[in-house]
Each structure stands twice: as C-alpha cells, then as structure tokens.
Subunit: 461 residues, 2 copies
C-alpha cells in the first residue's frame, strides 16, 4: 500500500481555508490541509457528536477498504483505527433454510473492515482538534452562500445568532444534501441529477450472545440474498451485528406490504428464518427505525473558479452496495493532497485538475455501486455465479499480471475507478466465454479449458 | 392524420381546474380542458403578450409538425394556423463556398412548418379568452406551492399584491424552469436532472429583399453545417429569416473566442460567407442579443397523487435540434385528452397512466434531439450521408410497410417516440450494412444490392 505522506510546505504560501461539513470527509480533509501549513476553519451544522447523541439517519457501520486506509495512513491514524476495525475476509450467504455458502473477498489476507461510522468520525474530530491550525465550529448551519463574492452566512442552531463571513477558499464536504452544492446549482448551466432507487433500507440489530460473543461468524459480511431484495449484516466490536434490510418501497414484498408487527414477524420467519431467534427486538426496531432512501447524486462542475470545491458525497453521493462511499470520499482527499504537492499554490490548476481527474471516476463508481446491488441481492445466491468467482480467482492466481478481479481492483487497489470498471466489463465478457466450457471447479484444469484460458490471456497482454 | 375530437362530457362530473403557465402548452391545454366541460383558471407569470412586447429569451419561430397539427386540429385551429405557417419541404445545406445541397424531409407533400412562437401563442390565448369556461390571469407569479394541502401563493408582479389560493387539481405547464416542478422536487425521493450542452445559441436575422421577398429559398430550412457547430435559418412571413447560430461556449471557434465586432465579422466572412451580405446588422445583433443555453430536463414522477401534473417543458425540456419541443408538449395534451375520454373522471388513473405512457417517450425524444444535433451540424455536410438518405427513401418507396425513415416517424407520424427511436436504431444498422455495397445512387438498382435489400426486408416483416 503506497501512501502519500503529508509534508508541510513553506508556510509563507499557505493561506486560510474554510471547510463546510465536519463529517468523515470534512474532518479528514481538515487534517490534510492543516498539515500542509494552512489555517483551517471547519463549520458543522450538527452538534459535536463527541458530546453524546447518535448520528441520525446514517448507517451505523461502514466497510473500510484500501482507498480509505491509504488516506487514514497519510494522516497517521491507520494503526489507531485498525485497533477498532473488524476484518471481514469473506461473504457468507444465508439461504432461506439457513444453509450457508461462502465467497472470499480476495486473496488470503485481504479483507474489508467493519468500522463504526461514529467512532471513526469522533477519532478524526479529536485529531483535528489537537491540531493548532484547525478550528472546529459546531451548530453552524449554512443559510446562504454567494460563491461569486466569496461570502457566506451561518446561523447558530443553538443561540439562533447569525453571522456573515468572507472566505478565500471554501471546501464543501457537507454530504449528499450539501448546502454548498445548492448554491453552485444556482450558477449558470449547472449540471445536476438526483436519482433514487425504488428501494429503501431499514436498520435492524442482531444481539450479542450472553458472554458478548458473536452469534454469526465474526470476520465476515453476511448476506441474505433473496432475488429482488436482501439483508446484510456487519459485525460490531461488542458482539452485535448491524443488519440492513434493502427492500422495495412498493410491491408484493415491500415496505408498503408490511404494515403490522404480525406481518413483519411472519415475513422474517419465512424469508430470514435463521436470524429471527437472534433479533428479539425485531418488530419494535422495524417500526421504530426510519426507512432510509438510496440516492445517487451527480453534478458538474465541482469547482466554482478557484474559490469553491465540492468533495465526497456533496459531489458524488452513491448507493452503498460496493462499500465505497466513504472510501471514494477519502480518496478525494488523497488525490487533492497529491495535486497540492505537485502544483504548490496554483489553486486554479489544483481545482481544475481535481475535478477533471475525479469526475469520471466518481461516475464509474456510481455505476459500480448500482451494479453490485444486483450482484448481492440476486447473483450471490446462484451456484453458477459462485463457481464463476472460484474460476476467476484461479485465473487471477495463475495469471496475476493479466487478471485482477473487478472487486479486487475496486476494493484492494488504487486503480482509478473508471479503469477498474472498464477492465471489469472486459473480464466479464471473457468469463462468459470461458464459463460455457466449465461445469465444475475441476474443469478448470482440463487441457482444453487451460488452452482457452491461455489464449484469452495472450490476447490481454 | 387521425385527430381525436374534443367532446364535452356530462358537465355534472366536470370540476374546476387550475393551470400554471399560459405559454404554448398551457394555453392549448386550457382549450382541451374547457371543451371537456371544465371551468379552468390559467395563471401566467408574464404580462399578456398580446398587449405588446416581445417574449424574451425564446426562439422566434418554431417548426410545427404532425404531432403539433393533430392537437391544433383537435381544438379547431388547424386551418387558422395553416394560413400563417410556411411549409419547409427540405433542408438546404450551405457549404463554406456558398454551394448548396439538398435533402427532402419526407415524401412529396410532406413538410415541417415555420410558425411564429409569439403569433401561435397569441392565437391560442385569444381562443382561450373567447371560451366562457376559461379565465386568464396575467402577471401572476407562483411564489409558493404546497402540493400536499393543495394550496398555492401568487404574487401580482405589477401591484405586488399577494394571494393564497386553494386548488383541487393543478397542471404545471410553466416551462423548463417550472416553479410547479420546483415544489415537486422538494417531495420525497424525487428524481431530477438538468443537463446542459457545452453549446449556446445566438439569434440573428436575415433581412427581406427590397420588395419583401425571401433572399434564400423560402420553403426550406437552411443549414450551414460546420462540423463542431452550425447555423440554421427558418423563413418568416415578412420575407426575413430567423437565424440561430449554435456555437460552443469555449474553444478555438466559440462565443469565448469572438469578443469584438471585427472578430465576428471576420469569422462570418470566412465561415458563412454567403449570409454576410444578407445580415447588415450582424455585429450589432451578435452583441445585443443574449446567448441562450441548451438544457435537457428529466424528472419523475410528473404527477403528485391526482392533485398536480406536469406537462410540456416543465416535465421534459429538450434541446431544439429535432424541432419537437412544442410538438411533444402538444402531444402531451392529445394524450391527456384521450385518457380523459377513456377514463372519465378517474383522475388517479388518468394522471398515473399519463406519466407511465409519456415518460419513456419523453426520454426517447430527449435522446433523439441530441442525436439530431450531431446529424445537423456534422453529417448533413457529408456526401455519403446524403447518399444514404437518398437510398433510404428509395427503400421506403419500395417497401413502405417495412420501412419508414426515423425522421419521418418522428415528424410525420404519431408513432410513440420510444418506438420510433428503437426502430430508427435498427434501421441505421441495416443501412450501415447496405451502404458498404453502395457507392452511387444507381447502385441501388443493381441486382445484388436489390437482393440484399430484399433479404433485409424479409427479416423485418
């Protein structure tokens, strides 16, 4: 894992910077910028999450992978986060009878890591607060932004007090419903789209065992694939699992069709029988927890001259099915840091190259995220699909220079997302040609299959 | 041309309706609704355009084709409009030396019609005003809309007076920057996109001759195709032509690169030499007229329950290159009228079927409009392309049941846009196979080419 160290430039060239939003990307970005010598003011609409209270309406845990680790290591907290992250080495699929099947995520030691969103954010905030160049301002809601004159207005959500501020350079890291982006949307010829899936999600909980032990395999991401919908579970440190049901809003099996506790109970007993005993609070949680929506946001430009720049979900919110939302936002920070390293204080070039470089990758990741939903809810329950994945890892082991599975390129590499997606589509075509000659795992070693594989690989090198 | 007559239903079932926006689609819609027995209130932000003053920022003339005619005939003003419409039977292409080439739009008598936007709108308003069931309210800006409680607020732009109104059913026909749609965009899980081309447009004028005669061929749409950009001209009744330059915002030849009258003059003399003598006001107009932008708007749903419905540009603004923006909006009225005819006062079904039926067609038309830009600015200058069009009309004449050119399906039929687009793509593939055997127009009659054509047609029937 090659990590880009953050070095402090000549502080004479460093200038004060403003960040709107102290979520995962904003707090990480503040560290990158401060360590380059900049004075950074960070404004956050919500209260300081370290003073208690959960973060409403967001997933409880996240899957951290290589792109995210690289950014955390660059600001020096890789080891600290590793202490509280749970590696998940494979998918464990649960069928309607409770039978399990398995699919490793990568090679032997490759894993994605279950981390607490709130825990990670708190750690980043504490680190930022310890940095003399960073000032954090909570309960500050952006009520107005004039990018052309570089002025913004904030309202203190506790005291109601309003203030107007001038800024020189503003980074918008205020998430999928970004107020900074809303102001850019009012500029001329702004390209924007928000696209919702017909699916929502509901968070549920699997309790720990009596001694705090994990009641499902700990080091795995669990999936209950059911064709048109699915449930997943990620492990927490306390022995519990956080489950998420991804479910249509309307239709025969849908949020609309489950209206009473008895209906929910009966549905889970029929469709997810093995988890029902592990969810004593099932019906209470189902009706207490909100139903979340799943949006993809695309926009362009991300920059307004060299004055305002969007990063993270503010510019490219995606659906959660590839576990790359946070990782993509963290990679934004890495890429921005590299450009600052190369281009010094040429901010027009930094902002321009950043958006030119990142936009196609963000678009590719948005498509990949929707693609993986189909794979997870539907294809991972199919023995032919699992066989194909096994064959693919054999090819990758035999021809490591010609073949890296798409999932590994996205998750365990820093290959730009757009390249990964292109390569993944080519590989999928090759696999569909090869799989017509393969019925079992051992078929892979048959001379005629080996010849076909060799021929395909020769065409790739 | 099969036109759906508007018949008045039992007036006991008719209910008062509200329309926001008295542009082309809103004023036409009011006629359809009133003739079905409804009391209709129409609110328009701008002043009554019949009291003088041009409509700012919109094209001066439009190409009316079969879908538009059908709707106008249904409200009984086909003949009246035909008096002031100029048929355009073909494209006339002007090359950089002023040489001309030609491409008919369809069969012998098929034409698209140049009509004045303002003139057509005025006629529709006068017709609406004569209708006892319609009340027109001008200078009424929608400042707030609550679809859930069916209330809206209007501000009189002249007196400043504000009023709050309840409505039972609201039709949003307030154009690409619809205020009605803005309110729907704030409802949950609303899908929305606005996408701009990197091109703008500039309106210019070709003067009539000394005796009011047309200085270019009157009954044609003129195109100056120049690869990455183009100019077009449509005839007006007074002998003038309205020209539109479609031009990149940035780049070597672009709005950004032409900054002085001398630069504009030199550019036109080099690139459009044959029109320069016909444009005595060229540089004045170029700097006086605004540069318009080219946006595609997509959204869904178009209906909020059975309370609010978007039609026309409010739900599907498209770029102008297929001449279908107004025609598509008028077809919305035809389709809505047919559904009212079939479904009576079952408004939930009317709204729901309307959006289900029209949305895929609006999406297809949006794609077609961008596709035709490429054809007009680039391909119509290519002799191979013109040859292909000639061959295509021969095929269509020989096999009328198997083949209707895409342009004719869009322009001279009522085939749903999505079907036309699908069929057009299939035909394009066939043409590319056939054209590899065809070098000249007479090649079409060669036995081996005839055999290939017959074979392709057999596969289509």
């Amino acid at each position: 894992m090659s990590s880009q160290p953050v070095s402090a430039p000549d502080s004479a060239t460093a200038e004060p910077l403003t960040i709107m939003g102290a979520g995962l990307v904003g707090s990480l970005l503040s560290l990158f910028l401060a360590r380059r010598g900049h004075q950074v003011d960070v404004y956050e609409r919500r209260a300081d999450m370290r003073r208690g209270g959960a973060v409403e309406g967001r997933s409880i845990n996240l899957a951290l992978s290589d792109r995210g680790w690289r950014a955390l290591e660059a600001v020096g907290i890789g080891d600290e986060i590793r202490q509280v992250a749970i590696p998940m080495y494979r998918r464990v699929m649960h069928d309607v009878h409770g039978n399990l099947s398995f699919q490793p995520y990568g090679k032997d030691n490759q894993a994605i890591y279950s981390v607490s969103r709130a825990g990670l954010n708190r750690t980043l905030l504490t680190l930022a607060e310890a940095e003399p160049r960073i000032r954090l301002h909570f309960n500050q809601q952006l009520t107005s932004l004039d990018p052309r004159h570089r002025r913004l207005e904030l309202r203190d959500t506790v005291t109601g007090q309003e203030q107007e501020l001038a800024f020189r350079r503003l980074f918008g890291t205020d998430g999928a419903f970004s107020a900074v982006r809303s102001a850019l949307q009012k500029t001329e010829r702004y390209n924007y789209s928000q696209s919702y899936l017909d699916y929502g999600y509901k968070e549920l909980n699997i309790e720990p065992g009596p001694d705090g032990e994990w009641l499902l395999e700990k080091n795995a991401l669990h999936i209950w694939p059911r064709g048109q919908y699915m449930m997943i579970a990620l492990p927490n440190l306390d022995g519990s699992f956080n489950c998420t049901l991804f479910f249509p809003y309307e239709g025969k099996h849908s949020f609309a069709s489950l209206q009473t506790p008895a209906q929910v109970q009966a549905f889970f007993e029929e469709i997810f029988p093995d988890v029902v005993p592990l969810m004593p609070e099932l019906t209470d949680e189902y009706f207490r927890n909100p139903t979340g929506s799943l949006v993809t946001i695309r926009c362009f430009p991300w920059a307004f001259d060299d004055d305002v720049l969007l990063l993270g979900d503010a510019s490219h919110a995606i659906v959660p099915f590839y576990g790359q939302g946070m990782n993509a936002g963290f990679e934004d920070c890495t890429v921005l840091n590299e450009l600052m390293e190369q281009l010094g204080d040429d901010w027009p070039a930094i902002f321009s190259q950043f958006q030119q470089q990142r936009k196609p990758n963000a678009d590719a990741m948005a498509e990949l995220a929707v693609y993986n939903f189909e794979e997870m809810r539907d294809r991972v329950g199919d023995p032919r699909f699992l066989l194909q994945k096994k064959i693919e890892s054999k090819i990758s082991a035999q021809y490591p220079d010609q073949w890296t599975p798409l999932y590994s390129q996205v998750t365990f590499s820093h290959t730009p997302y757009a390249e990964a997606w292109q390569s993944g589509r080519e590989q999928e075509q090759i696999m569909s040609r090869l799989m017509s000659h393969i019925q079992t795992e051992t078929d892979y070693d048959r001379p005629e299959v080996q010849a076909l594989v060799a021929q395909e690989m020769a065409a790739r090198s």
